[in-house]
Symmetry: C2
């Protein structure tokens, strides 16, 4: 909602190269808001603005940028300023970034980073994607059990500036074994001379470093925690996962599930900022796989056919209808989850842009599926004419279905209803009837009449 108001101002600052205004822009707004605005700019402009920020603030804003945008910026940065930025970033954010960079690039960066940070990065990088280790941060607050509450506050004041949270304090021994847990609330309510060992909770709920990240996020939510500690195989505290990172994991998982349910490979980026080419790959694989299944159905159907001359019409009916249903449900699922994540973006990008994108995308997908259908139909019927009818129909049906599937949720949303009502089966039902009409009309056009 900020975007539409502040973007013109920001663009003006860049054109006029108004360094003071850019600096103010970085410092006044919440880092999350600044990041959202920068992500709307061309990468070089975003870098110009960021270079006006004090380093600490720059690292914070950078951490809020979408990962794909971070990578583009990194590719435009020199090694020296980049290493300073990486060193300053939050431990979990920078590992997310480094994981996506070329390993060689990471190796040239690391020597420029301070020893302690470097060791931390190497350790975090070693945890496999999708594990607790890969989403945790090492910036947690910890204290020994033998000190008093008063001393604890003094130490926490030192830890506070660079810890992800100081509201949950973990009690560890010399070997970093996790012994207990104290919330800031309890610490505030305790008497200054009490020992931490007297007030700490012994039965800490924790997860293991190789636990699945979705499990970790669910555990955190189950207890309503702000953070959950992560221990290694020897029960040593190695990190914490905070509630905001858990929320990200669950949102990504939900979105992945939604996409998979409609036979789309999960996207790395938001639907709005994914290119047509990448979308074609993520959807094409499944469309072709499902086409295979439809061809099999057609093959089975031929055994139930009489030897009627135009028996192929019925053979390919399921294939034609399934092609439409599949392409339409992919579009619908992508648009629906994109709207759920950020429906304000729709206004910035525009419905027309999305529909033209779906149109070009569906021409690629439809063209591919149609060509393969052509050969399958030719092979199964041994004649060219049915192959022409089937493939032309498939192309038209896929294009019609993809555009309908993308448009319907937007229409529903404009009536303030939940776009998810445009379900896969409903899209299939709408597309079925239009598909049938297209199929038989194409057959009419090619043959001039229809089979008896």
């Amino acid at each position: 909602m900020y975007n539409t108001l502040l973007l013109p101002d920001l663009r003006l600052m860049i054109i006029e190269n108004d360094e003071k205004a850019m600096q103010e822009f970085c410092e006044v707004l919440f880092p999350a808001v600044t990041a959202e605005l920068l992500a709307e700019l061309p990468p070089t402009d975003a870098l110009t603005v960021l270079s006006q920020c004090p380093l600490e603030r720059r690292a914070e804003i950078f951490g809020y940028l979408p990962l794909g945008f971070q990578i583009t910026l990194v590719e435009n940065m020199d090694r020296k300023p980049l290493s300073r930025l990486v060193q300053e970033m939050a431990a979990d954010d920078r590992v997310d970034l480094l994981e996506k960079l070329d390993p060689n690039q990471v190796e040239t960066l690391l020597p420029l980073i301070a020893q302690a940070e470097r060791a931390d990065i190497r350790r975090l990088l070693s945890y496999p994607e999708g594990s607790a280790g890969s989403i945790m941060t090492t910036e947690y607050a910890s204290l020994p059990k033998s000190i008093t509450v008063g001393e604890a506050f003094d130490r926490l004041r030192l830890q506070a500036p660079d810890r992800e949270t100081i509201y949950y304090i973990y009690i560890i021994d010399d070997r970093r074994q996790l012994l207990g847990f104290i919330s800031m609330r309890k610490l505030i309510l305790a008497k200054p001379q009490q020992l931490l060992s007297e007030i700490m909770r012994n039965d800490v709920i924790y997860v293991k470093v190789d636990d699945d990240d979705e499990f970790v996020a669910n555990e955190l939510n189950r207890y309503g925690f702000i953070a959950i500690p992560v221990v290694d195989t020897e029960n040593r505290l190695v990190g914490i996962v905070t509630h905001d990172d858990a929320a990200d994991v669950l949102r990504e998982e939900a979105e992945e599930d939604q996409h998979r349910l409609a036979a789309v490979e999960p996207l790395d980026d938001s639907y709005f900022s994914t290119s047509v080419f990448v979308l074609a790959q993520k959807r094409g694989f499944w469309l072709l796989f499902l086409l295979g299944a439809s061809v099999f159905t057609a093959w089975v159907l031929q055994f139930f056919q009489g030897s009627g001359e135009r028996g192929w019409i019925i053979m390919f009916l399921p294939l034609v209808m399934a092609s439409g249903g599949n392409a339409g449900s992919q579009s619908a699922a992508l648009v629906i989850s994109a709207l759920a994540r950020d429906h304000a973006r729709l206004r910035v990008i525009g419905t027309f842009h999305i529909l033209t994108r779906e149109l070009s995308l569906s021409l690629i997908l439809g063209g591919t599926v149609a060509s393969i259908s052509f050969f399958c139909a030719w092979l199964l019927t041994g004649a060219i004419a049915p192959a022409i009818v089937v493939s032309t129909t498939v192309l038209l049906v896929v294009v019609m279905a993809a555009v309908t599937g993308a448009a319907m949720p937007i229409v529903i949303q404009s009536f303030d209803a939940d776009p998810a009502y445009m379900s896969t089966p409903l899209i299939a039902a709408i597309v079925d009837v239009i598909g049938v009409i297209i199929y038989f009309n194409v057959a009419y056009l090619v043959f001039g009449n229809l089979p008896a």
Copy 2:
């Protein structure tokens, strides 16, 4: 994971009526864990255990029970102890409960509750479902701007015990206008003699009381906040929404979307604990609606038919296949989102139980859809025999599809893969080919041979 280990002990305590053990059980475990175990017991047993807990702990545990279970317990409680429980519950939890109770019952309860709490309940109950007001809590920490940091700590110590969070402190004036915000971290780092007005942030990010709850949850996540303040139309602070409640909202929305995408009305409860009858309603509506669409497709198809005697075979092919695809994708979506939410429950309940449940459910759904198909086919063809073939096939296909749709995600999960790979289009593809075989075999059985 606790359940399987502790449940037998708990059952023994109840049989032996071991009051001391039950009391310990309530106090030693985390309230969330105690609640999960109690939810596995018959309601009267759960009440027996709860009655051994101190009131405050009892209210806390109660708040973690699933809403449906809370309602069952309430129906078994006397007015007096119930009013004490409601008075002690967290402001947001109790309103969630009271919203689901019979308004008359709520009216008999309220007079037993202290004046201040009663006013709070009435105010929270007045916000419409799905609004920020309906998920917020009124138990937030607030301070005036004119006091020092040292005084702030003294006041927070008084507020701490019954506030949902004291880590975010909102600065308000006499008329409760929201002026600023201070995090506990900042407060700890400040000097005791500093004024709050000097260290507070003026540009508070807030939401309005009638904002959509999903929007509120997304705003909170966008900034990674622990809580977000809620103001009324006159900018007065009326509550806060905390990160754990925001996570619940987003999880429910994601689950609702997943269900809607597969044409299932969203469930109020978990799939595992929803009755066959309720499931039949939530799914039946959409199946019948989609059947209507298929009948329309059949009607359109007849215009493309020659006057061939058995032209109806092709007319009803899309209907038969869509019935299977729809029922199968409903089952798959329900099982997949249930597994994502809590796949440990599967082991407790057992795959066999789920499949027999789907079987009985699909007999109800399939029976209904088949009967209606019978009349539609009769009407459209004017003959009984096609109606018999179509309706018998629909029954068999729906049953086959529902059981396959429920079983496949469980099979995939057992190979440690993401069950969401069992997508709607994939289910439809599998069901298509089996459906076609069933259809023509039924036709063979009825007619002894097939149409040319």
